[in-house]
Symmetry: C2
Subunit: 403 residues, 2 copies
């Protein structure tokens, strides 16, 4: 299926992965399609598109997708002007790149899915059992309605996360990319510890986070993370997803920093909290319980254990410390585009019995967001063949205090 002697490429391509890697991914996806009874699959999640084809570009704000069939190379479909980016980034031949006219973009009179339906009919898929990713940022309610109306004889089936599940266990090539992302994460956290001081405005500190993130490490350039830095302070640290403003850091406040280095779209998030001044007993007790919980969780995060086992190991010391925590404590990570760096399959929580496999990677993320304070100490982890999980980063697992 990747007979490069037969394919025509106008442009030199700097593909992130080998042909064998893309072949493995496509085979796994086709096997999952087979199990789900799908003749074809429309992939609209940009992370899934990139994982399967190499496509990379900030074009996901218009409708686009990749069509996967059992007996033909993937087809990239998107806005005509973005087909120029596709022929430069996907491994398939140029004739597997299809562009639709600009008049479809954000029109109230026609929808890009009407163009797609015509093309699907052209290749004989108008009566197919076609999988679509119903729960995805980039497959809107309107897109589904338009595609359903334009393909009256097809059977559209929900294939949410079908590809995401194939992404769970990482290859060695992917783990290498995550190690590079992790080195960048360490560099960012080191810079934060150095630069955060009372009186320094938050936006100035975030500017330097971007410098560390994009300069990269050891000659490996940094890519943009799928989530911007989050760094609420004091009572605002109760809110997990506040971004920055121009206010200065203050003595007597804890600030958590939720950041991730990114190498060619692969992430390794690392969160640490800095306290300026002398922390009170409440947060010190929370730190002790949280670190104990993290270490217990890392120890049970082994191949063959379940997602919920990690959550249970974390919960015990927190409960003993009287800390109520209802949110999940982690999710799979890897290749991602905004707005999320999670893979949206497994959740580390009591309800999730998924068995952990070697090569799976998670952000073990037991953030504490209490009523008027917050604490984040987290690790990106790799499930190994044997033994407890490996952490991608190697930084003190503690509350950082600057007296």
């Amino acid at each position: 299926m990747m007979d490069t002697a037969m394919t025509f490429h106008r442009f030199h391509k700097d593909l992130p992965f080998t042909a064998e890697e893309y072949g493995r991914r496509l085979a796994a996806t086709r096997a999952a399609m087979e199990r789900a009874g799908l003749e074809a699959l429309l992939v609209t999640d940009p992370s899934n598109m990139a994982w399967l084809t190499g496509y990379d570009g900030w074009s996901f704000y218009v409708h686009q997708g990749v069509i996967i069939q059992h007996d033909a190379d993937p087809i990239w479909w998107g806005r005509l002007q973005d087909s120029n980016g596709a022929v430069r980034t996907v491994w398939m031949a140029d004739d597997c790149v299809w562009g639709y006219a600009d008049s479809f973009v954000q029109s109230t009179e026609c929808h890009p899915m009407q163009d797609l339906a015509e093309r699907l009919a052209y290749i004989g898929l108008d009566t197919a059992r076609l999988g679509v990713e119903m729960e995805n940022y980039y497959y809107s309610a309107k897109a589904h309605a338009a595609l359903t109306a334009a393909l009256p004889n097809a059977v559209l089936k929900d294939a949410t996360a079908l590809v995401n599940w194939q992404r769970g266990a990482k290859s060695d090539e992917e783990i290498l990319f995550m190690r590079r992302a992790a080195m960048i994460s360490e560099k960012i956290v080191d810079g934060l510890m150095e630069r955060v001081e009372p009186g320094i405005p938050k936006n100035e500190v975030v500017a330097q986070v971007y410098v560390d993130a994009l300069q990269g490490v050891d000659g490996h350039w940094g890519d943009y993370p799928a989530i911007v830095p989050l760094l609420p302070s004091g009572t605002d640290a109760a809110a997990p997803h506040l971004t920055w403003d121009g206010r200065p850091f203050s003595t007597g406040e804890a600030t958590f920093f939720e950041i991730s280095g990114c190498y060619r779209r692969y992430h390794a998030p690392l969160c640490r909290t800095i306290f300026l001044g002398k922390p009170d007993d409440t947060i010190l007790r929370a730190e002790a319980a949280l670190v104990e919980g993290l270490e217990a969780g890392l120890d049970v995060a082994r191949a063959g254990a379940r997602a919920c086992d990690i959550a249970a190991a974390l919960a015990a010391p927190l409960e003993r410390a009287g800390i109520a925590r209802s949110a999940r404590c982690g999710y799979p990570i890897g290749l991602s585009y905004p707005p999320d760096w999670g893979e949206r399959t497994i959740s580390l929580r009591a309800e999730d019995q998924t068995v952990l496999q070697p090569g799976m990677t998670f952000h073990f993320m037991p953030g504490l967001w209490m009523e008027d304070w917050g604490l984040e100490i987290t690790e990106s982890i790799l499930i190994r063949e044997d033994g407890p999980a490996e952490t991608f980063c190697n930084r003190p697992r503690k509350l950082y205090v600057k007296p």
Copy 2:
């Protein structure tokens, strides 16, 4: 409706706009709901949510929304942990903030829209004519299916862009924010002109773009833009949405820079192209035609003219120069969250007859993405009461050449 004496707020809030401004926005939205026959509106577009309530946070990767009714304050609804951010950022009282349990997040067994449906029933909206934003990144096909199933007696009507259309003509308060964003855009472009040299890696230059963007100007801190910097070079500049890598800039290549400063979520994009070395006649002829087209477009961009008039004014000199261009040449701008800084209402193109009004703001964006080169010279513009459009930025409208 904003009787602050009656409302309870636990936290100090740094609202970006006055109560009068939020009141104006809500009144305009309710009038549009009335015209559309809607008793209630579920707003899921994060830009619309922020515009109506002040809500700000990177939480749009999970389901959330704002419920607008005719006779009650807006209700913020989202993940429980994000309600901590909502009570800190919305103008409504704390009891207008509703959080759903974390077990709904990315679950395969239940959907957050089921929680919303129960709450809508509780306030008597289970039989309402309820508007939903069918064409939105953050209202998935699955969300619509789940909400429809959970509200069998409601009438869900497509209200795509109902709020976006109210955002078109900006208030003086908003224009002030865009002027600040524009100053940041100018600073970014000035920095690029200074720093881009043969041999400098792209990621290093983007790191400094972020420093300029986030440090801000004149004491106004910089926010994250809704789109990351785009800066393809040479033949890659044919592709409008490629991001960066670690390759150095080279002599003999044009690079376009598509960037925007951002002040409290308001944007003023500004694109310029830098040629290193001696540009050939093809690009110089294109530059001349493009600048002529921009100036013609600015001159017709007056209150009372139509969106298509700008497109026609631009097209004439390009056609005379033999440059075929099929993409729209602009879109409205203002408050935005990723993945797009456009407002997704008007398009500056031949098919769009929308009449321009004072206070409307556009990114006049006639990018040229040819087969093996590209050129971007653009302006963010304001439609005035009288006379031609004002440009938010004031930088030479030309191809920048560094010999």
